[in-house]
């Protein structure tokens, strides 16, 4: 999780430099959702009129929608009127003063993951923090980036400082009416990240942000919008970790990516929200809509995700391949252990000519975990010369877990070339015994076999992230093989 961070300390010292949070410190809007609540959120964030109208439109659409039931996950009904839709950071006094006040189990996890000491404090929500609940302040390296014309800031700031860009692209990939959770997010999103890379600029560093759930009663509705203008390149990292909570929490984020001509966006996620305990109690409900649009010719969008957390994962990072010769990629590792459920995959929608897509999905199930891959490849009428390669592998650990695949192909142009490979395997007693006979412990053997299984995905991750992902996998599967 180490971003090169001279900034954490810096940011801590200049608390709330970016202003907009100071006056709303410590306040939480009472639970419940109505037009008034949305007006209040918009007002608190001092948004221009177009944003409020956009939110209200989304809300009115949401009211007419029903929660999707097609996913292969089971959970108790969510009472949307019991969720508080806005919470600003708690003031420093309300937060743990030092790591001594933090749940030791959480610290043990950081220890196992090798999170640097300084960052542990930040992640655990100690007062010297740079990342806050709902309102992100992690707008680091700003100076350096702005010299190149790169805009990387919180969503709220983008709304105020760059309304023309926001108005042009917000909802252009995931419309407000796209799905139940996206509509909800559009109505109430609290904050998130905004990134714009101007023409011809190659972003010189990996952009990253941490999201974190900190406030017991608040759902989390993040909004991310990344635009790569013609010929631009950006690699964006998203990492999540959540403190232990014993009640389910809703998380419904929306991420939109737009790539113009010859632009490339690489979006990597390591997701480690609290998965619930060994009995399946608690844990985050993660209903996320992530979609990228390859708007320009020769553009490329690449999603890489390592999903180890959450009680429920509902997530399909997708690509709309509109520009000629555009490329979409999806590399995924999803782990479910104990009582976790994941229904994840991707959609590749080929609209333009000679568009190409690659899907590599690795699902790992252990304990009572249920892991579903759901993928759709659509080749539309005008997408002549389109190609897709899909590979979908499942690994089972133990005999009480499950792996499911739901691939859908829809081809309307007969020049398309599509390949699909799938496999399901079990970590064999033979493999384990072979490793152990060479002196390798059971635990190391499992981690070695699992990491080998995920190799094709890990090599798509930036180096630091790959190392972290490997450790995370080890910790997530700890004790899953007796």
């Amino acid at each position: 999780m180490s971003t090169s961070v001279p900034s954490i300390e810096e940011l801590a010292n200049q608390e709330y430099k970016y202003g907009f949070v100071t006056e709303i410190e410590s306040d939480t809007v009472p639970p419940g959702l109505s037009e008034d609540v949305i007006r209040l959120i918009s007002a608190k964030k001092k948004e221009p009129a177009f944003m409020l109208e956009w939110r209200l439109k989304a809300y009115r659409q949401w009211l007419k929608m029903t929660e999707p039931k097609w996913a292969n996950v089971k959970y108790d009904p969510i009472d949307y009127q019991k969720i508080s839709y806005y919470s600003a950071p708690k003031s420093a006094e309300d937060r743990p003063k030092s790591l001594d006040e933090v749940d030791p189990e959480l610290l043990a996890t950081y220890e196992k993951l090798g999170v640097p000491l300084m960052e542990r404090a930040a992640l655990a929500g100690v007062a010297v923090d740079a990342v806050f609940d709902s309102v992100s302040v992690a707008t680091t390296f700003k100076g350096k980036l702005s010299e190149l014309g790169i805009i990387f800031c919180s969503f709220s700031e983008a709304v105020r400082e760059h309304p023309e860009l926001v108005q042009k692209y917000l909802g252009s990939v995931v419309p407000t009416s796209d799905n139940f959770f996206a509509a909800l997010n559009s109505a109430v999103f609290s904050d998130g990240s905004f990134c714009y890379i101007p023409k011809g600029v190659r972003c010189p560093m990996e952009l990253s942000t941490y999201f974190r759930i900190n406030n017991g009663e608040s759902g989390q509705f993040e909004r991310t919008l990344i635009i790569a203008d013609e010929g631009a390149y950006v690699s964006y990292l998203e990492g999540c970790t959540a403190p232990k909570r014993d009640r389910n929490q809703l998380h419904a984020a929306v991420v939109e990516l737009v790539a113009l001509d010859n632009a490339t966006i690489k979006y990597s996620t390591v997701q480690n929200w609290y998965p619930g305990d060994k009995e399946g109690k608690g844990g985050i409900y993660n209903f996320v809509t992530k979609r990228g649009k390859c708007l320009g010719k020769n553009s490329k969008i690449s999603w890489t995700q390592v999903e180890t957390g959450s009680a429920i994962t509902w997530k399909y990072p997708s690509c709309i391949l509109q520009g000629e010769n555009s490329v979409g990629e999806f590399y995924s590792v999803a782990v479910t252990n104990n009582f976790q459920q994941a229904d994840t995959g991707t959609k590749m929608i080929h609209i333009g000519r000679n568009t190409r897509s690659t899907i590599v999905s690795k699902g790992i199930s252990a304990g009572f975990g249920q892991n579903s891959y759901r993928g759709a490849v659509k080749i539309l009428k005008n997408a002549s010369g389109a190609r897709n390669y899909s590979q979908c592998d499942s690994l089972l650990i133990g005999d009480k877990c499950g792996a499911h695949t739901f691939p859908v192909l829809e081809v309307k142009n007969n020049s398309a070339q599509i390949e699909h490979e799938a496999s399901t395997s079990r970590i064999g007693e033979d493999q384990l015994f072979y490793c152990r006979q060479r002196g390798i412990s059971n635990e190391d053997a499992v981690s070695m076999i699992v990491n080998g299984f995920c190799k094709e995905v890990f090599r798509e991750l930036p180096m630091e992230f790959a190392v972290e992902a490997q450790k995370l996998l080890g910790v997530s599967l700890e004790g899953s093989v007796g």
Binding site: Y434, R436, R438, G439, E456
Partner: protein, 250 residues
């Protein structure tokens, strides 16, 4: 170094070993021969700690340890090596990465310093020459896509790197053509050492032309029914396993 006393074991409900007695001293090479189903591979598996077998009686002492009390990885770290009849593929795990992890686990157990990637690779390259192994092996996953012969060679290569005190070779000759058999045998012979015990489990005498044993034991019906010098293997080759069953009242 190895004392097997009245060892009995079963797989499921089936009794397979019915009282094995065998002593292996440092420097000795013992061949265990016998017809299919006589319990040869079970014996190898029990010594290595494979949990699909249940030991129902007897004892095994290895360098002062009660071997049967140790986990498979502990046995390996104490110096027991099994060359598998069917080496296992581990996709995505580099052959060298795997072997270094194994070597370092053993070195750590012995209180020796772990080898870094550079030192390890130097060591591995030396041993690869011994087995005439292709350089491409360095970049491949453990046994993945290896031919039958390459897998067996890889087993002996691992043995050369790990330098066990007791090596058990389970049907190492099966599936090898004559050239590969020669190379593998050369490798094993190079590892013969006054401090190292070797148990060769084989169905055919042919391997013993290349690796000449000090002792030959014939296993039948879960017992060692005949022991002798290397000439016993030739006699067996000549007369077939039926001869044993005829001469020994079971």
């Amino acid at each position: 170094m190895l004392e097997i006393r009245n060892l009995q074991a079963k797989a499921g409900d089936r009794e397979i070993l019915r009282g094995i007695n065998l002593t292996v001293k440092p420097g000795e090479v013992h061949a265990i021969m016998g017809p299919n189903g006589s319990g040869k591979s079970t014996l190898a598996g029990v010594l290595a700690g494979r949990d699909s077998y249940e030991v129902t009686g007897g004892s095994v002492t290895f360098l002062g340890h009660d071997l049967l009390e140790l986990d498979p990885e502990e046995r390996a770290r104490e110096g027991v090596f099994l060359a598998f009849q069917y080496p296992v593929e581990i996709p995505g795990v580099g052959n060298m990465y795997f072997l270094r992890a194994a070597l370092n686990a053993i070195r750590k157990h012995r209180g020796e310093e772990e080898l870094d990637a550079v030192d390890f690779l130097n060591l591995a390259r030396k041993k690869m020459k011994l087995l005439e192994m292709d350089d491409s092996l360095i970049n491949r996953s453990v046994n993945e896509g290896f031919s039958g012969g390459e897998k067996k060679r890889n087993e002996i290569f691992q043995m050369a790197v790990l330098e066990p005190k007791l090596a058990i070779l389970d049907e190492t000759d099966s599936g090898l053509d004559i050239d590969a058999l020669k190379i593998v045998s050369q490798g094993v012979n190079a590892l013969r050492d006054k401090d190292r015990g070797i148990i060769l489990v084989t169905h055919y005498q042919r391997l013993l032309n290349y690796i000449v044993p000090d002792f030959v034991h014939v296993l039948s019906g879960g017992r060692i029914v005949k022991s002798g010098g290397k000439e016993l293997a030739l006699e067996l080759e000549d007369k077939g396993y039926a001869w044993i069953d005829d001469t020994v009242a079971v």
